[in-house]
């Protein structure tokens, strides 16, 4: 597959930095011709991935970074969010829809991501942190220009 569009961002582990990624992401999704509803749900899913990386992965240590990579591969948007934590085992997750979990205040972040993206997978980055990959079909890129954006707060 050919990559027509990509960016990389690195943010410090503070929740307010999620908004920074959202600004760049929204611009990208709009340029890709994604309809408003789909943009909203991708935005929500990525927000969850970032929140997990900051809260659980990097434990809100502002000296640790969260790396965000976005690329369009053919007709698929691929977003990777990687933290600098100690890794995560996604096989032991509670079902947030189970009656005994319905009134729990937490445990819905990954469920959100699975609900709003076409596919999510978990792996490890080179430093042993958690890398989550989110995929969503797109209607097709509006541009074939390649673009690199780097940012650090």
């Amino acid at each position: 597959m050919t990559e027509e569009y990509r960016f990389h961002l690195a943010i410090g582990s503070r929740f307010e930095n999620i908004e920074l990624v959202q600004v760049v992401l929204r611009d990208c999704l709009e340029r890709l011709g994604m309809e408003e509803d789909t943009r909203h749900w991708v935005d929500v899913a990525v927000r969850e991935a970032l929140a997990n990386a900051i809260k659980h992965g990097n434990e809100q240590n502002p000296s640790k970074q969260v790396h965000v990579d976005l690329a369009v591969e053919g007709s698929e948007l691929v977003i990777q969010v990687e933290d600098e934590g100690v890794g995560f085992d996604p096989t032991h997750l509670n079902d947030p829809l189970a009656p005994e979990n319905l009134l729990r205040p937490n445990g819905r972040g990954i469920f959100y991501m699975k609900s709003f993206m076409d596919d999510i997978t978990y792996g490890s980055g080179p430093g042993g942190g958690t890398k989550v990959t989110l995929r969503k079909r797109v209607p097709g890129p509006k541009t074939d220009s390649s673009q690199e954006i780097s940012g650090e707060e």
Binding site: E16, I18, D43, V44, R47, A51, R104, P105, R108, Y112
Partner: protein, 112 residues
Amino acid sequence: MDVNKRQVGDVTILDLKGKITIGSGDVQLRNAVQEVINGGATKVLINMFAVSTIDSSGIGELVSGYTTATNRGAKLKLFNLPSKVTDILTITQLITVFDVYDSEGEAVQSFA
């Protein structure tokens, strides 16, 4: 997120505006609900009309608010849900937990 508190008879209404997301709106929602419950409110409505985004932390705070209210003998209900908030509550099946109303009038009347 902005929270405006007002009173309609014996019903306390919280008008929310903006994002209910981790690190900002979620904390404000928690504090607002705790404040009115601690202040003795037993009939609480949350107006979701101007909520633009709610993440899983925001949903968690809604659930916590509901649980806190119920445990203290109060009722917490929602009204004026934007379609995307309705979608979230439906996907998470929390639409079966909360009492949800289309309008403020209906919501206030439900306590009568």
